[in-house]
Symmetry: C2
Subunit: 357 residues, 2 copies
């Protein structure tokens, strides 16, 4: 996304530092939590997190960007607490995020994630289900433990449990919608936004507030930080949907049209179908035709991308990403916090939204 | 099981009354909780609970015995609170129980439950995974709601969340062990008890204490009630394992040897294998032979049942059921409570353990 706001925080060392801090502080307690799992679930989880290979050998995997823990720590700082106060929250959101990845990969039949074989393909569907279940439960345990160790008051830990539980259910609702879309030819823009708000927005909302909640933030602050995270999630998803069609591959530098091959009802497609003009109707007719599904040539897909663009789907989604990003930053403005912390939130938002492939 | 204790509570109208009370008080809030799920998960859950058929028509299904809600209400009474104080607990344990059934049926490939097609066979694996995930999450929400509505203090609701979360993870550990047993020829008696304690004991332990916890019970009372439920679960499971081999079918009145056909490592089998004599060694050799697995004749299975009995597996398991049952009642003795409530706990224990098929 090319849109920038008036808050001109440049990409600099701060974002990598914030991400590194999240990983440094949250990975040890995350690994400690995972070792509580009965064998062989601990091994399956360690493989999924990228800590070991399929033979059990330690690997120096990156384990993903870990944006969620970084947000959780920052949210503790938003209310004047040390970043460490957000650690149980960062661990909990990472556990819930990975619960959803384990189950979603199985449900969607995805065989790779971050260039590695998904857990269900290596250890079987039963282990993917079990370990997912266990990680979700561990997420709640880690928050309750914070009250036992004195890292949070009992009341604040309970509020954090409420936050993670509510967002977990929205996450499940979003995945249920996504699964149901596969059976349908047309999905409205509103339905698509609802699905993406559940799948991506809900847990980013929890991530951006859970450290603050653990540190005693009031509901007004928590709500505003959640809105920042939620709309950031929707902005991220809009960009992701654009890249899913027009993003360039690392090898060729050309668009790969991957979401068009799977006929994904992403935002640009839903917006183009809603427009109703000639290109929109032609697109609808193509998508209603089961013939060729999954085996369409690059020429056919390129022509379809052009139709989506002609029907305004690309422009609308770019605008939507901009709107969601600005709504996220506006929510942030409602929360009084130190300038440095605010700049970090803005920098993370920009990092999440501005990507090229 | 024929064993009775000195506490001679006769099967009478009290047990059906206790079960009916649990259903009457807990089913409306359970149904209300399920309606919070996004479509089509609400439908899948309603089908699974036996409230509708696969076409969505209401059915007057029994929905199971609902022992867990009955125990939850009774546990509130154990600390002098009204039974209604245990309702959020009864709803939560029923939600978690059904989360585990949905996922276990899928993992185990079971196509029927209570003479109905399992949810995953009707709605597909993805829905069974999603709805299971959602029910587990709802279980926590229902307990947190109790603090919002004033049905429990925030501190007691948080303790109830801790109880259900811990037992959910033990439940998952037990299922993970059960799944791993399928790949093995020999399972020790201790491993089998650990598995059954997780799969059956943990949630009955939570059920027998959660109403008391919501009503403010101290840890000593909660621990004793949990031990009652845990050992009751192990007694139930020992009887279930005996019936899985020697239980008579409703139609023929003859043993059906069903667990022998699937070569399940149930308690009588594990105990017989541990004995080490001639019959035990012959049994081990039979089970190590992959030939005939799943297609053995009734004569072969009857001979195997005789071997298990000769190696002491049947007697040991009957004794174990008696020991667990008495351990459960001994735990109950540690808790001061009204005589009528204690008699109800004993009557429910007898109901759970004394079955014929």
């Amino acid at each position: 996304m090319e849109a920038r706001t008036g808050a001109t925080v440049k990409d600099g060392p701060t974002v990598p530092d914030l991400l590194a801090r999240g990983r440094t502080l949250c990975t040890p307690p995350l690994r400690a939590a995972v070792t509580r799992l009965a064998a062989p679930m601990d091994t399956v989880a360690a493989y999924h997190f990228g800590w070991i290979d399929r033979d059990g050998n330690p690997v120096a995997g990156d384990g993903g960007k870990a944006v969620r823990p970084a947000l959780a720590l920052l949210s503790a700082e938003a209310v004047g607490a040390p970043a460490a106060a957000g650690v149980p929250g960062g661990v909990a959101v990472e556990l819930v995020h990975n619960f959803s990845l384990l189950h979603d990969d199985l449900m969607d039949g995805d065989e790779t994630r971050r260039h590695r074989a998904t857990a269900w393909t290596v250890f079987g569907p039963a282990q993917a289900i079990l370990v997912g279940d266990a990680l979700a439960t561990l997420g709640t345990e880690v928050l309750l433990d914070a009250a036992v160790t004195g890292d949070a008051t009992a009341a604040d830990a309970a509020r954090a449990v409420r936050l993670i539980t509510t967002s977990t259910r929205k996450l499940i609702d979003g995945q249920a919608l996504d699964v149901s879309f596969e059976q349908r030819d047309v999905v409205t823009v509103e339905e698509c936004l609802e699905m993406e708000g559940g799948k991506t927005g809900a847990l980013l909302a929890a991530s951006a507030a859970i450290g603050a909640v653990l540190a005693g933030a009031d509901d007004r602050v928590s709500d505003a930080l959640q809105r920042y995270g939620y709309h950031l999630g929707l902005a991220f998803q809009a960009v992701d949907d654009l890249l899913g069609i027009w993003g360039a591959t690392e090898v060729t530098g050309k668009p790969h049209w991957s979401d068009l091959q799977s006929r994904k009802k992403s935002l640009p497609v839903c917006a183009a179908l809603a427009e109703g003009g000639a290109a929109s109707r032609k697109l609808a007719a193509q998508l209603a035709d089961p013939h060729g599904r999954g085996v369409e040539s690059e020429e056919v897909l390129a022509a379809r991308a052009a139709l989506i663009e002609e029907a305004g789907g690309r422009d609308w989604t770019q605008e939507e990403a901009r709107r969601q990003y600005q709504t996220a930053l506006a929510a942030l403005d409602e929360v009084p916090m130190a300038d440095a912390v605010r700049e970090h939130f803005v920098a993370l938002a920009e990092f999440v939204v501005v990507r090229e492939r």
